[in-house]
Amino acid sequence: MDGEPLFDRRSTLDNLGDDVEILRVIAATFIADAPRLLADLRTALGARDVSMVMRAGHSLKGSAENFGAAALIRAVGALEEASRTDDFTSAVARLNEIDRLLAQLRAELQAL
């Protein structure tokens, strides 16, 4: 995982028609919003509220998708799956992974 970039610059710019200005603006928006997305997921998991987990997960995936962050999206999917099957131990483990990946993505986007 280390050294492997999360942010897929090529597919992102393809989606944006190579509009670098839009990329900068949405990257900044994402960086500012990421702590909230993670906090929502953590709260939902703490409350063991599956529908809240799904909704927070959906928001996080929907935001991260714009940057092609496949590993992060997979981790959120795994967390959703674990909480759907009431496996909250695995879910919490996934949350730590998500925390780490999210920090990495933010750092990569910040470096733009």
Binding site: N15, L16, G17, D19, E21, I22, V25, I26, T29, F30, A32, D33, R55, H58, S59, G62, S63, E65, N66
Partner: protein, 357 residues
């Protein structure tokens, strides 16, 4: 064009806002909260709505249903943003009509193409609506013009008849307004009452065909002369009949029937009761009342009380009682009409009352 964007995810909302901003003539109106977005749509005039499906509180489908409930927005184009796998959601949205979809993550090419298509649809809708409004206005104007010309024709005809008649122009206006008043008071449709107002002035058009020495003779007519006088009803009918104009059709009937009496003793045909068309029965009251209360070269003007008594006494004999009752019920309005249309110059009053018009 106003493009409303509703998405609770800040990154996606910002992305779509910027994409819309890059389109010529488009103003993005972003909402992170679906409730506020809906309120804006209901109070304003959006051209396109782009709405995310999965949102807290109001989701995309509920949002679309609320927007569609507003009649102004029944064909407003809507784009819903969904993930590929949400197929049942897409089917439900398609049911609402006027909806297309955008895949997540948003792809610029697809996004702009679908937005452009939807806005082209919107422009056509607007052009069609504008054209329909324009056409309706043109038709309204054309019809109004026809009505105005028809009315003008009627007024000129009535004026032509006036030239040969000692009765004044204000008599014609007063009796026409009395006739309208009676019709309304009797509960006849307002359209009918208005037609009566425009048609009644022509009731004596047939006097154009009455020889001067009889028409303008002061004092009583001989029985032979009176027979000639009576002909003005038939002459008027001949002048006006078989018109395609409703007002002139009614005027023809009024010309023919306004001297008929309720008990059948009138002329030219001696019709009684319901056999006399209602417009004839109404104008009989309006015409006689105004003639009585006006001064003529051969008679003085009767007082209002005298004229009112005359109507009461001849209720059922000369006049349809329903018409007399209607007229007397709105006596205040009768007086208003009298105040409104005053003769400029009272003809010198004769001393002897005479009903032989």
């Amino acid at each position: 064009m106003n493009v409303v964007i509703v998405d609770d995810t800040p990154t996606n909302l910002e992305l779509m806002r910027m994409l819309i901003e890059r389109l010529d003539g488009c103003r993005p109106i972003p909402f992170a909260d679906s409730g506020s977005g809906l309120d804006w749509c209901l109070e304003n005039d959006p051209d396109l709505v782009i709405v995310d499906y999965l949102m807290p509180k109001l989701d995309g489908l509920e949002f679309i249903r609320h927007v569609r409930r507003e009649p102004r927005h029944d064909s407003l184009p809507i784009l819903m943003v969904t993930a590929d796998h949400e197929k049942s959601v897409r089917y439900a949205a398609l049911d609402e009509g006027g909806v297309d979809f955008l895949n997540k993550p948003v792809d610029r090419m697809e996004f702009l193409a679908r937005v452009r298509n939807m806005l082209a649809l919107r422009r056509s809708q607007r052009a069609l609506a504008d054209r329909a409004t324009w056409l309706a206005e043109e038709v309204r104007r054309a019809v109004a013009e026809i009505h105005d010309r028809e009315r003008e024709t009627i007024v000129r005809l009535a004026r032509a008849a006036e030239c040969r008649d000692p009765e004044t122009g204000t008599h014609i206006l007063r009796m026409a307004h009395y006739a309208q008043l009676i019709a309304l008071q009797m509960g006849l449709p307002p359209d009918f009452a208005e037609l009566l107002l425009h048609a009644a002035p022509m009731h004596d058009v047939g006097k154009l065909g009455t020889p001067d020495h009889i028409l303008l003779k002061p004092g009583r007519h001989s029985p032979e002369e009176f027979e000639v006088m009576k002909q003005h009803t038939l002459i008027g009918y001949e002048i006006l009949r078989e018109s395609s104009s409703h007002a002139i059709q009614m005027a023809a009937s009024i010309a023919l029937h306004h001297h008929e009496k309720f008990n059948g003793s009138g002329y030219p045909r001696g019709l009684a009761r319901d056999a006399i068309p209602i417009e004839g029965r109404i104008v009989a009251v309006a015409d006689v009342f105004d003639a009585l209360t006006s001064a003529r070269p051969y008679k003085r003007a009767w007082s209002l009380d005298e004229a009112r008594d005359y109507l009461r006494e001849n209720r059922s004999a000369h006049f349809d009682p329903a018409c007399v009752d209607a007229f007397l019920t709105v006596w205040d309005r009768v007086l208003e009409i009298r105040e409104r249309f005053v003769d400029e110059e009272e003809p010198a009053a004769a001393t002897e009352p005479n009903d032989g018009r």
